[in-house]
């Protein structure tokens, strides 16, 4: 008697065991953690860099403001005007309204 060989075709199903799944999730978390830690560390350096720039800008701003304060000093402006030969008028002449002057012929 011939034995008929019964061939059954079974599909190979990929099944994750719970253990593997757990390790995969843990691995994912670790990767994410490492990624964010690197990102955060890099951001910290960026922030430090920005802060340095902010400090520089604040200092520059302060210096410019000091120069502006000095430049808008009316006392110093008066001194400078005097040094340049400007003289304040000593007499003011008031003209009557309606009086014509430098009239064209």
């Amino acid at each position: 008697m011939k034995y008929a060989r019964k061939v059954t075709q079974t599909k190979k199903r990929f099944r994750l065991s719970k253990k593997t799944l757990l390790w995969a999730i843990v691995g994912l978390f670790i990767a994410v953690q490492v990624f964010f830690t690197i990102q955060t560390a890099a951001t910290g350096a960026k922030i430090a860099n920005f802060e340095r720039k902010v400090t520089e800008l604040v200092n520059t701003n302060k210096n410019l403001e000091s120069k502006l304060v000095e430049a808008t000093s009316l006392s110093k402006l008066e001194e400078k005007a005097f040094d340049l030969g400007f003289v304040k008028n000593t007499e003011t002449v008031y003209l009557k309204a309606g009086v014509t002057f430098a009239k064209l012929p």
Binding site: G44, A45, I47, A48, N63, E65, S66, S73, L74, S75
Partner: protein, 570 residues
């Protein structure tokens, strides 16, 4: 057990004990120190600066601003080199004039003694070092010399308005504190509040964002926008100084106010100081005499008494004085006119024009001491004006009901009463403001980053009627035009004014020679742009206000006529 096993066991036990002992040492004995060291490595703490607010003129330019300077210090353990060699290098950069050898040697000695101190790690060497000097010191490359940033107050107009502004010094704990004037009065508003930041850092010093962070934000000081006009202020400063020199006075004050809202447009006094280097000047210069010194006003006070009498209805401008034909006797004293010239049957207008003491005794008698006291109180005498400056004095009036006939008589022409210049100008501003009192105000607005808050002027009650105000204004206008200072009158300009020459009381009697010369007035009298008081202390060229304070008043006013666009009549 053989001996070798025992020895090994003993050795292990000993090793464990040694390890435990070492661990105990590091964890328990040295634990706190190491923890602190570790914390220093991974934790950074720093304060966030809060700059002091600026004080601005009415046009937005600076009267004071916050700059930066450096504190130079020495860290003695890190110092390399002999103290005297370092002192010789630093001293020329610390003294104002390196050519002044005496000062230079003193500075070398000072630095040397500081650097040679025992038992000290950190020594401050010099405060307020500017950035240029700092750079020069850095170029010397002296190890152990460092810098700490500190805030410095800058006063770009130097001594202009010094007594109005005040200055910033240190309190007992070494913190910045405003003294006198605006800096003192608004110290809390101007002072910022420092912030604080603590966070963890990595080995390179960059912040660890996921680490512990604690931050308290800094609150910046508020800027103050004043009513003070720089042009007015600088004109007052310059002309007052020239006037004091010209008339040989020992000092003087000048104030300009807007009578319509009490805005102080300028306030000057001389002698003064430079707030940039206040420590080089004597304490006596820090007080602002405009608000803190009292004086007997003399004849400028007559306009207040006359205004009161007109308002009370006890006299009219054409009321005649029936006792003005000679000196009058009050109790055991004879009251005379300032020049011993008498005008019988003077009207009240004449009394003001001639600045007639006898005529004012007549007015005082008509008014009576109780009514006069009430009016003086309403005008603001006997109480502080409430001006927003630190250090206002409050000379008291003689209490109600205790006025003798002599007190009433002398008060009517401005003797025996003490007032401050700010009280005096405020009361004349009331007359100029049609009888309604205004309170003097220096600061107009609080301002911060993107915001402003207006401080409304404070208007008081009506003190005298509009009619009385117009009557006394007309008298003052006539006094300016035809009084003893008529020679200096600015023709064509509508000036209402009054001179006042007061004797100076010294130890219970009046000095025979020294006087206080004043002129108070406003212009144009029908729509005043400004009211101004000028007072000169002990002028020597002439004791009379008509020859000193009055010409100075007009000299200053002529500039203001142009500045405010005040045109002469006709």
């Amino acid at each position: 057990m053989n001996v070798r096993v025992k020895l090994v066991t003993f050795f292990f036990i000993l090793s464990y004990l040694a390890l435990i002992g070492r661990l105990f040492y590091w964890q328990i004995v040295k634990g706190k120190v190491l923890a602190a060291q570790a914390q220093n490595q991974y934790q950074s703490e720093f304060t966030i600066n809060a700059p002091r607010g600026d004080i601005l003129a009415s046009d937005g330019t600076w009267f004071t601003a916050s700059g930066e300077s450096w504190l130079t210090y020495a860290s003695l353990p890190d110092l390399v080199g002999r103290p005297n060699t370092i002192a010789e290098k630093l001293a020329p950069l610390f003294v104002e004039d390196p050519e002044d050898h005496e000062l230079l040697f003193l500075e070398i000695d000072r630095i040397n003694s500081l650097l040679s101190r025992d038992g000290v790690v950190w020594v401050p060497l010099k405060r307020r070092v500017n950035s240029e000097t700092k750079q020069e010191i850095e170029e010397l490359e002296i190890k152990g010399i460092g810098f700490e940033k500190e805030e410095q107050r800058i006063y770009p107009e130097a001594s202009a308005a010094a007594q109005l502004l005040g200055f910033v010094g240190k309190d007992s704990e070494g913190n910045d504190k405003g003294y006198f004037g605006i800096e003192g009065f608004y110290d809390v508003v101007l002072s910022g509040k420092e912030g604080f930041k603590m966070r963890e850092k990595d080995a390179s010093g960059a912040p660890i964002l996921i680490g512990a962070t604690r931050e308290v934000s800094a609150v910046e000081g508020v800027n103050l926008v004043t009513h003070v006009d720089k042009y007015v202020q600088l004109t007052l400063d310059r002309k007052l100084k020239l006037g004091i020199e010209k008339y040989g006075a020992s000092g003087g004050v000048a104030i300009v106010m807007n009578p319509k809202n009490g805005a102080v447009l300028g306030m000057s006094s001389y002698p003064t100081y430079d707030p940039n280097s206040y420590w080089k000047f004597g304490d006596e210069l820090f007080n602002n005499p405009v608000i803190s010194s009292s004086f007997e006003p003399g004849s400028i006070f007559k306009v207040i008494v006359m205004a009161s009498a007109l308002d009370a209805g006890v006299v009219e401008p054409d009321t005649t004085c029936d006792m003005c034909n000679g000196p009058t006797k009050v109790d055991k004293y004879f009251i005379e006119t300032w020049n011993q010239v008498y005008y019988p049957d003077s009207t009240m207008k004449d009394v003001i024009i001639h600045s007639d003491n006898v005529g004012m005794v007549f007015v005082g008698n008509k008014l009576g001491s109780d009514k006069l006291y009430g009016y003086l109180q309403s005008f603001g005498f006997g109480a502080p004006t409430g001006i927003d400056l630190q250090g206002e004095a409050n000379p008291q009036l003689r209490s109600k009901g205790s006025w003798s006939q002599v007190d009433l008589a002398t008060a009517s022409f401005g003797q025996g009463v003490a007032v401050t210049p700010i009280q005096m100008i405020t009361s004349v501003a009331t007359i100029a403001n049609m009888g309604i009192k205004v309170l003097p105000q220096v600061v107009d607005k609080f301002a911060g980053e993107g915001w402003q808050e207006d401080i409304s002027p404070v208007t008081g009650d009506r003190v005298i009627s509009e009619k009385a105000s117009a009557q006394i204004t007309a008298m003052m206008a006539e006094a300016a035009k035809s009084g003893e200072a008529k020679w200096t009158y600015a023709r064509g300009f509508k000036v209402a004014g009054k001179t006042g020459t007061a004797q100076i009381p010294i130890e219970g009697h009046y000095d025979e020679e020294k006087t206080l010369a004043s002129f108070v007035g406003f212009a144009p009298y029908d729509d005043p742009s400004f009211v101004m008081l000028v007072t000169l202390r002990e002028p020597t060229s002439s004791p009379w206000a008509s020859e000193t304070a009055a010409p100075l008043w007009y000299d200053i006013a002529k500039d203001f006529f142009i500045y405010y666009g005040i045109q002469p009549e006709n």
